[in-house]
């Protein structure tokens, strides 16, 4: 089986609002699949349908060959979830939280204990295993929830905004764990707002907006598709009137970023020539000159705007 998740025409409405509108995609086995979208785009609703928490109005989702509607328990047995708004049981200790998860997945007690010990050590929580989770910081709670999700050795791991609101160190630890478990064979499906995170982690990305998939591809291909978002970034030894640079042929847009000016174009080489001519004419020295491919954030904003019809 090469496909871990197959989604066909998945749809969910809440009253008159269509949260997810006939979406289709596939996630390959052993892949890290990123799900990007602005707030309210339908990311969490999609994850809730894929994990059997919400029933779709239409469509189907197959997880490792099991239809989440027809065989929910079989599908849920091989997945694990770190929901966006999840919390550990505050009145249970870290250890009790993990043991509970083992019991809910039918993991034999001895195995649960061994895995819990290993995971708590990996995430630096072992020393605090007998403390109630209510005394844990947000980062520690998130690590504990991730430990609970990994305790069951899932084939597919769903993470909804797993690093949101975490400090740099905790976020990095979680990203490293995602990479490590993916290398060991876990398929990862995760939603994030963090473009840099998606760019670094994901094999492929889907961008969802207003409940519809706007694009699916590798981060690199998504960037390359948006040729008009290529840019040239320049800085001179003296401030220059931005209006003059806007008149350079083939410049579609420009932005001042600190002491640099970014000129958007689909003809970078021609803009570079024009900039060197301009500098010579105005007796300016070029301090730095770089051509830039569009960032994933540029692509994301463009796709979201296009989808909105701006």
């Amino acid at each position: 089986m090469k496909t871990a998740i197959e989604v066909e025409g998945l749809t969910k409405s809440f009253g008159e609002i269509i949260a997810v509108n006939h979406i289709n995609f596939e996630v390959k086995k052993d892949e890290i699949f990123g799900f990007l979208g602005p707030n309210g785009a339908g990311k969490t609703t999609t994850i809730r349908m894929l994990t059997g928490v919400l029933k779709p109005d239409e469509g189907k989702a197959i997880i490792m060959g099991h239809d989440i509607l027809k065989e929910p328990l079989k599908a849920k047995q091989i997945i694990s979830v770190v929901p966006e708004m999840a919390n550990a049981y505050r009145d249970l200790t870290a250890w009790q939280n993990l043991m509970l998860m083992g019991e809910l997945y039918g993991v034999p007690k001895e195995e649960s204990r061994e895995r819990a010990k290993f995971l708590l050590k990996e995430f630096g929580l072992y020393e605090r295993r007998n403390q109630l989770a209510r005394g844990f910081s947000k980062g520690m709670k998130q690590k504990l929830i991730l430990c609970a999700a990994l305790l069951t050795e899932p084939q597919v791991l769903f993470l909804d905004e797993p690093t949101a609101g975490l400090d740099v160190e905790s976020a990095r630890l979680i990203r490293d764990m995602i990479r490590q478990y993916n290398r060991e064979g876990t398929t990862i499906f995760f939603s994030t707002h963090n473009m840099e995170e998606a760019n670094r982690l994901c094999d492929r990305i889907a961008i969802i907006n207003h409940g519809k998939i706007a694009a699916i591809d590798t981060p690199e291909k998504l960037r390359m598709k948006s040729t008009e978002l290529k840019s040239v970034e320049v800085s001179f030894n003296k401030p220059v009137p931005i209006k003059e640079l806007a008149e350079i042929p083939n410049v579609t847009n420009l932005k001042k970023i600190g002491d640099k000016i970014r000129l958007y174009t689909d003809e970078p080489h021609s803009v570079i020539n024009s900039l060197t001519d301009y500098a010579r004419r105005k007796k300016l020295t070029i301090i730095s000159l770089n051509t830039l491919a569009p960032t994933l954030e540029d692509v994301f904003i463009k796709l979201v705007k296009e989808h909105r019809g701006d």
Binding site: A86, Y89, L104, Y105, G106
Partner: protein, 257 residues
Amino acid sequence: MTRLMVNNFFEQLKRSVGVAKKDLRIYYKRGPVIIFGLIMPFFLFLSFFIGRNMPIERLFIGLLGMAIFFSSMSIGPAIIPFEASSRTLERLMSTPIAVWALFLGDVIASFLYGLLISIVPLIIGLVLGINIIQPLILSLGMVLAALCFSSFGILLSAYPPTDVPSTAMMISNLVKFPLVFISGVFIPISQMQDWGKIIASASFSPLTYFTDLVSYCTQETSYYSIPVDFIALIGFTLLFLTAAIKIHEKTLPKRLS
């Protein structure tokens, strides 16, 4: 095929036990559980019985009935709203536990809590010299009643799908208090002879059948026959449990939005 189904059933049952353990660890000491499950019924009992010259057997029926009814129904209504408000419900719903097993776990927790608490008035009764004529029937009755009232508690938390525990507790109290007054806790059903309508409504209360059983076990007098009491308690348990699972199944996703 049948073997696989039986295996799956027992596998799910084990998960119910996991849920029950979690519930007992978390919820027995919650404020609303202690207030609505122990303190309030205790004072209600005192306010009704103090100063009235009643035989001790009558007091015992009232105390045991109140204790098992309120304590078995105290944890149930609180669990799901607490899970929703403390944001643990979504994770629970994504685990491979069947909805029936999840709620059976909650019922088991409420049942054990109710049974444990009701041992206290039983001991008090024995210390005060109550003669339990039919100990086996009383024990069986207590087990069945605790199971029945626990299922009732879970049913009462099914609708409306609130994530505010005190709202769920308030709604459950709205149902519980009228039932106490018509179920032979304070006044034996046999003395309600002229109140035809009340007796008719009493037969719709599961508590009636338990107090009738306790009356039989301590005074050898009962309004209904013992098999009727048992069948009614079993029937109510099955009805409450099935209804609770069905309604919760429909309302669970609404608690997340």
